[in-house]
């Protein structure tokens, strides 16, 4: 009974941020989803009828391969980012505080250069006449006709490049709080380095890993600029299609339908995971106490 009062006050404290999310996140998302059920008008506006035709139009024969590419590029780049960031964060958190700060600074410094410029730099770098290509050719690793740019692998590399810091920072934050005495305890109990890493370190930085997965996977899924610049028509992702429908075809309902699809692709797994966790906790609570 006497618990209800502080709860109410806490709720009041969250009101501003809740209001912000409501106005700038929930309502726009709902609007986009609603738009997917409208027809388009020939002048690039939104029609005034409710219809399923827009959704039906998603059965475009080009889409499955684009959706598939979007998914695998996002999943693979997320995996690469996480797998690279885990050992990196381990070593960063083990060195002296001074070097930690320097390395963190080095990770953050590129952010002061505009994102577009950095992506263009990659284009220059991978260009058929670019430095990297020339080196590969001189080393006989690549033939003079090999194309480095305009292929899904190029998109993958640049997505990993762009989002690796976003994976590194939350995992490092978790690693820095991790109690490394636990690793000693694991060794002491007979675990080798690999076992200790897998059974103690990884679970210990779980929250950082989850955050990293979310902050890499979701933006990767919505990539538009990267495939647009370093990928060709053969490396398009959903983001490119949405942009094309919006800017070139001026078919906002169709673009909205694609966006809604993407949103559901992101929200649905998260919602399932959250509800499962919720019920699991509820169960264990009713058993435990």
């Amino acid at each position: 009974m006497h618990n209800s009062k502080p709860r109410k006050n806490e709720f009041l404290l969250t009101l501003p941020s809740m209001g912000w999310l409501m106005i700038f996140f929930v309502i726009p998302t709902l609007l986009v989803i609603a738009m997917a059920f409208r027809n388009s008008d020939p002048y690039g506006g939104i029609g005034d009828q409710w219809t399923f035709n827009t959704i039906r139009d998603l059965r475009n024969p080009n889409y499955p391969s684009i959706i598939w590419r979007t998914l695998w590029l996002s999943v693979v780049s997320t995996i690469i980012c996480i797998v690279t960031a885990i050992p990196a964060s381990y070593f960063i958190s083990r060195i002296s505080k001074k070097f930690q700060d320097i390395i963190l600074l080095l990770i953050i410094v590129p952010f002061w250069i505009n994102f577009l410029i950095r992506i263009f730099a990659w284009k220059v770098f991978l260009h058929p006449e670019g430095l990297f290509k020339q080196i590969l050719v001189t080393l006989h690793i690549a033939g003079p006709d090999t194309l480095l740019l305009y292929r899904p692998e190029a998109v993958l590399v640049v997505i990993v490049y762009s989002y690796l810091p976003f994976a590194l920072l939350p995992i490092y934050a978790a690693a820095e709080k991790f109690d490394f005495h636990l690793m000693e305890a694991a060794y002491d109990l007979g675990a080798n380095r690999f076992q200790a890493f897998l059974r103690v370190y990884i679970p210990g930085i779980k929250m950082g890993l989850l955050t990293a997965i979310i902050v890499v996977f979701i933006p990767a899924l919505g990539s538009y600029v990267i495939p647009d610049i370093v990928g060709g028509p053969s490396s398009e992702m959903i983001g490119n299609k949405i942009a094309q429908r919006t800017f070139i075809d001026r078919n906002l309902p169709h673009a909205s339908a694609l966006s809604a699809l993407l949103t559901f692709a992101v929200i649905l797994p998260a919602a399932i995971a959250l509800t499962r966790k919720f019920f699991k906790e509820k169960n264990s609570r009713s058993i435990g106490i």
Binding site: E184, A185, Y187, D188, L189, A191, R199
Partner: protein, 377 residues
């Protein structure tokens, strides 16, 4: 094969700071051996060398006849109970205890039996599925012990395992620890800065100060016959006196202590007339009386004035002024007599003590006395 664990000339420095200085100790199989010393004296470092987390700059660690100095921690038949427990927060009590068996790849059914047995030993069977953060301090402690013991180590290392617990719980855990030791019969290496803990639990104690072993012995030896002023002051309270030998009559000798009385002291160490010696007398060895006591010849006595009294329930401490000496004494309330005249502040009283209670120290008083106030003021 009596000497089970041998530390042979261990030295260790961190940078310029020499933390351990040529430490040699032998631990017998099945005993509880304590490292006792003040904070920062290097106890944990010595334990970490035994566990394999640090490598000594010089010296060897020999376990059961095998030199394990360079063996990595996961290959040693040694397990540690860490000062902060270091339980795995993501694993249940059961899984924490099972950890060592899991990494060794034991069969599931056998694992369940083993863990069940140890859960019973520490009486936490009903808490098996709780996470460590749902446990009390004492329960965490017991999980940490079971987790280490289940691997059947040759030696169990305990780093101040009771330091985080309150007094009552500490006393209970001390009994529990002793029982567990009796049950499993494993050699315990026990680190503590608490002399009463070391006293009540250990078969042997090594008193360590600034990276050096001051004295090794049974609790009684260390308390009753401290070899150095450090040991005398660190283990319990004591009074120090410095005197010149004026008469030797084996095994007793008479000392002149300036500003005090002539003191008759027991001495089994060869000394001769004119030597300067230091002795220690424990506070509880003094008898206090208002009338001049009627004593046999092996007793010393001197008159002083009560300057300070602290009532501590089962005993009372009196500080008695004799010239520039403030002698700490202790008196048990074995019975309470209403007609007995109470000793109060400012009373002139007699101190008397037997010559056997004066212990000669090997080291000079100038060695730093970190811990307690002494009679030298």
């Amino acid at each position: 094969m009596d000497d089970f664990l041998i530390l042979d000339g261990i030295s260790k420095s961190f940078g310029k700071h020499k933390v351990l200085d040529n430490i040699s100790l032998t631990v017998k199989k099945g005993e509880i051996f304590s490292f006792l010393g003040p904070s920062g004296c290097g106890k944990t470092t010595l334990l970490r060398i035994c566990a394999g987390f640090e490598e000594p700059d010089s010296g060897r660690v020999i376990l059961n006849g095998v030199d394990i100095t360079k063996l990595s921690p996961n290959k040693r038949q040694v397990n540690t109970v860490f000062q902060n427990y270091a339980l795995f927060p993501n694993l249940s009590v059961f899984e924490n205890i099972a950890f060592g068996l899991r990494v060794s790849g034991i069969k599931e059914s056998q694992l369940n039996d083993e863990v069940g047995k140890f859960l019973e030993l520490i009486q936490l069977t009903s808490h098996a599925h709780k996470k460590p953060d749902k446990l009390s301090g004492g329960q965490k402690q017991r999980v940490a012990i079971a987790r280490a013991l289940i691997n059947k180590p040759n030696v169990l290392l305990l780093d101040e395992p009771l330091a985080a617990l309150d007094l009552k719980l500490r006393q209970r855990m001390l009994v529990d620890l002793d029982n567990i030791h009796d049950e499993v019969g494993i050699t315990f290496l026990y680190v503590t800065h608490d002399q009463s803990e070391a006293m009540s639990l250990s078969d042997n104690i090594a008193v360590i100060n600034e990276g050096k072993v001051e004295q090794v012995g049974t609790p009684a030896q260390i308390y009753e016959a401290p070899r150095t002023s450090f040991v005398a002051a660190f283990i319990g309270d004591t009074n120090f006196f410095e005197g010149d030998v004026i008469e030797v009559d084996e095994p007793y000798s008479k000392l002149r202590v300036d500003g005090f009385t002539e003191v008759l002291a027991y001495n089994d160490k060869k000394i001769k007339k004119g030597d300067k010696v230091h002795i220690s007398i424990r506070p509880e060895k003094f008898t206090l009386s208002i009338e001049k006591p009627d004593l046999s010849e092996k007793y010393n006595s001197i008159k002083g004035k009560v300057e300070e009294i602290i009532y501590l329930g089962y005993h009372t401490k009196y500080w008695v002024r004799v010239n520039e000496f403030l002698v700490e004494t202790k008196r048990l309330h074995d019975r309470y007599m209403l007609d007995e005249k109470m000793i109060t502040w400012g009373d002139e009283i007699w101190l008397s003590w037997h010559a056997d209670y004066c212990y000669r120290l090997w080291q000079s008083l100038k060695a730093k006395l970190k811990k307690r106030r002494t009679s030298y003021k």
